[in-house]
């Protein structure tokens, strides 16, 4: 029991990432409402962002803005500062995620104008009738 609890608490950020990812995945696959699917997609992408940010973090790590004198003297301990690279990567991933969401919303709007619904079953029903 103790070992099990330690596993969860010690790596809780990774557990949250798994739970978030599965929630998003479920919504994308299972929900009929197009907007709910999109929300699921965003949760899914956020989970991955959390994974990347977790990689870079260190217990007691400082922000990675270095003092010039100190850096030139070689006195900066890498273990003391948070790894900035995953953050930079995730800035790009956020931009990608925003653009995909934007395109998807625009497409959803066109679907709504065409069929008057954002429910997948209803839309397919209306396609079948016409």
């Amino acid at each position: 029991m103790d070992a099990w609890l330690f596993e969860i608490i010690g790596k809780f950020n990774y557990w949250i990432y798994v739970v978030l990812m599965m929630t998003g995945f479920y919504a994308m696959i299972r929900k009929n409402n197009l907007i709910k699917k999109l929300l699921g997609m965003n949760i899914f992408q956020t989970a991955i962002i959390l994974l990347y940010i977790s990689m870079g973090s260190k217990v007691g790590g400082k922000i990675p803005i270095l003092d010039k004198e100190q850096a030139l003297a070689g006195a900066v301990q890498v273990a003391d500062v948070v790894n900035p690279l995953p953050h930079v990567l995730m800035l790009t991933a956020i931009v990608v995620s925003v653009s995909v969401t934007g395109v998807a919303l625009a497409v959803a709007l066109r679907i709504y104008k065409e069929y008057g619904s954002i429910d997948e079953d209803q839309i397919l029903e209306r396609i079948g009738k016409s």
């Binding site: 990608v96 995909v100 065409e114």
Partner: protein, 494 residues
Amino acid sequence: MNHNLPVLVLAFPLLAAFAVNLLGKISKKHVAPWTLASLILSAGTSLWVLKDVLQNGKFSYTVGGWMAPYGIELVLDPLSALMLVMVSWVALIATFSALPSIKKEMPGREHLFFSLYLILICGMMGLVITGDAFNLYVLLEITSITTYGLIAMGKGRAPLSSFNYIIMGTIGACFYLLGVGYLYLLTGTLNMADIASRLPALYESPTVATAFCFLIVGVWIKMAFFPLHGWLPNAYTYAPKGASVLVAPLMTKVSVFLMIRIMFSIYSPEYDFLMHLGIKNLVVWAATIAIVGASLIALTQKDFLKMLSYIVVAEVGYMVGGVWLANQEGLTGAIFHILNDSLMTLCFFLVASAIAYRTGSSRIADFRGLFQKMPLTMLALSVGALSVVGVPPTCGFFSKWYLLLGGVEAGQWEFVAALIFSSIVNAVLFYRVFEVAFSHSEEEPSLKFENSRILETSPMMIPPLVVIPVVLLVIGLSAGPLVREVIRLAVPAL
């Protein structure tokens, strides 16, 4: 090598995309010349790059002077240079057909369409030459987002198909990103060559296997490997013709190339998991099911474009199977087939656009009398059909031959049987099309010729319809030297 050539190939369409958008607002006359000029320049430069790579060997370009592994590296080996030539030339030829069909389908919005179109081409060129795993993700999303937009511009069900594609495509891209995340967690680097040099020490770790699965499943979704193909047929059928003529020949093929990159540039054949007999057999079996399943579904289609889409899905099975046979012949066949299949698919979609331009329909039942009305188009379709069935001396025969040899060598008889089965199904499929097209239209004019003054189709569409069948034959006839001089060099070492 003149050292900025690889970037120039990408820069032409990217810069033209902005020019087309801005100048197109003023007058639609600017769209065609800018698009064509940039693609001609880019296609010419890509040939130069290939020639140079074949003569002087692998070349890597450091973007902005930041040295690898810290900066982004563009890797030009024979394989990626070959893909670069394929992408730029197929894009150039497709554009001749896209320009008139978009002018007809969405008048007044050509500049919007073609700026997305050019960015998509630029993204695909980037995908094939980048040497950085994260940069690859970004380019993957650039190509995907532009494709979503292009498909959604179509009429009727197009937005809904595009939405499904967005959901599936995002899952694929996110899986890829997760895989890259795990690799970064293990190795602390994102440069493919650098990852490859650090990974062998960690091959025992289950995380490496997890990363591999995420990466591969991610690209499988992008390439529409059979059970994951759900988004493709509708997306390609309802998209504007000008979009599918570019996307269908290239997108799935570029994804197959990415799979080869992941398997042989990030991982290596020494990796046990990759070379594990059980897993190899499993994937080849999956490819077999993909070929048979997609071929059978293609038989039930009444719409020409949908039938073609399922043929594309079946062909993806060929290439995945060929790569996972993991022997020299299979890989040669798969890489050769990437090239051939993209040309064959281009041929089919050019024909479909030409027919849609003339008659406004893509239902096979409406093809009555087409051999009389559009002889040149149907001639092109005939050559394409012979090639996809695998009749020598068209190019389709030779790549299929190598795939068969690979299957025999690996002892994967089910894959060999599936290849032959799919050839027969393709023969039946095109026989049915020709049967309708040969029949006379006098008694029942089901064909609505919208403009009887047009001789065959739009004059812009004629040159590609003449060029592509010739190319299919020329590649077939020169298959021997082509494989010896180019493809063999491109095959990753086993």
